[in-house]
Symmetry: C2
Subunit: 169 residues, 2 copies
C-alpha cells in the first residue's frame, strides 16, 4: 500500500508525493484523434499554441475527458469543437501513458473518418487553427508531438491509411 | 512575452503558472532507447515499477538527461545502468514533446545496437528488471508506454529493425 499526500492542487493538475519520495502529477484522462476528412482525401490537424513550450506545434485534435464522458464521447466532442467535422467511423488505436515516470495521465488514441464541407473552430477559448494536409506532405513534416507521431504510425500499421499506403516517415 | 511565476518546486518537477492561467510542469529533458542486442538477436526492455501509476509496465530503457550531458551521452549511461550493455551503434529517432498540453518535457528517442554477454541492472536505486524479447513476441504484447510504442514504430519505419521486417502490431 502506497502512502501519498498532496503537495500542490491546481485547476488542471495536482502534485502528490508517494512514499515520501516520488513526486507524481495527477491529471484527467486525455484523447486524441488522427482525422481523415473524406470529402477532401486529406488528414486534419491543428496548429496549437502551447504555453508550456511557448510554441505553436502541429498536433492531432486532442483534449481532456470530462467527468460524464467516455473516451469516444470526448473525442467526438473535441473534433466538433476544434475542427467542426462529424465523425462517421471511429477506430481505437489503443491507450497509452505518455509519461509514466511522473504522471498518471492516460491518452486514448483514435483514427476518425470524418465528413463536413469545411473546417470550423467552434471553441473560441482554444489557441488553435485547423489545417488539412495531403498525406505525402505529412510524411515530410517534422512532427514533435509524440501522440501525433504515434497516431500516424499506428494508423499506417493497422492499414487504416488505406488511401496512402506508400507514405513513409 | 509571457508572465510566469512558480507555484510549486519539488526535487524532480516544478509547476509554474503562465499568464495567470496555464499551469505548466517544468521537467528536465528525457531519453529513451529501443535496444537491439546483437548476440541474442532480441530486443531489450525493462519491466519498470512506476509509482505514478502504481503498476509495473514494459518500457524501453529511459531516464533523465543530467546537467553535464547531451542526449546521446545520457542514453549510453542509462543503457549501462539499467541493462549493462555496451552501445555499438546509436541512431536518433527524433525528439518529441510527450505532453505539450501541460509540460515542457522533451524526450529524445534512439535505436541502439548493443553488445554484451548478459543483462545486468547496475543501479540498485531503480525499481526495474531487464528483459529480452524476440520481436515476434513484441508485436503481440500490449504496450501502454507511449515512447516505447513510438520507438518500435519509428525503428520499423526507418528499416532499422532489419532482422524483423515482417512484424506488425
Amino acid at each position: 500500500m502506497n502512502l501519498q499526500r498532496t503537495l500542490f492542487k491546481g485547476n488542471f493538475l495536482q502534485v502528490d508525493i508517494v512514499n515520501e519520495k516520488y513526486e507524481v502529477v495527477r491529471r484527467p484522462h486525455a484523447v486524441g484523434a488522427l482525422i481523415y476528412w473524406t470529402e477532401c482525401d486529406k488528414l486534419v490537424f491543428v496548429k496549437h499554441y502551447r504555453p508550456a513550450i511557448d510554441k505553436i506545434i502541429l498536433e492531432i485534435v486532442a483534449g481532456l475527458v470530462e467527468h460524464d464522458e467516455d473516451p469516444s464521447q470526448a473525442v467526438r466532442r473535441e473534433i466538433d469543437e476544434e475542427v467542426g467535422l462529424s465523425v462517421e467511423n471511429l477506430t481505437s488505436l489503443g491507450s497509452f501513458y505518455p509519461t509514466p515516470g511522473y504522471s498518471d495521465e492516460v491518452t486514448h488514441l483514435f483514427y476518425a473518418e470524418c465528413s463536413g464541407s469545411e473546417l470550423n473552430m467552434n471553441d473560441p477559448s482554444e489557441n488553435l487553427e485547423p489545417v488539412s494536409l495531403k498525406i505525402e506532405d505529412v510524411w515530410t513534416t517534422v512532427l514533435m508531438d509524440m501522440k501525433t507521431s504515434l497516431a500516424l504510425c499506428l494508423s499506417k500499421e493497422k492499414h487504416l491509411l488505406k488511401h496512402f499506403g506508400n507514405g513513409s516517415f
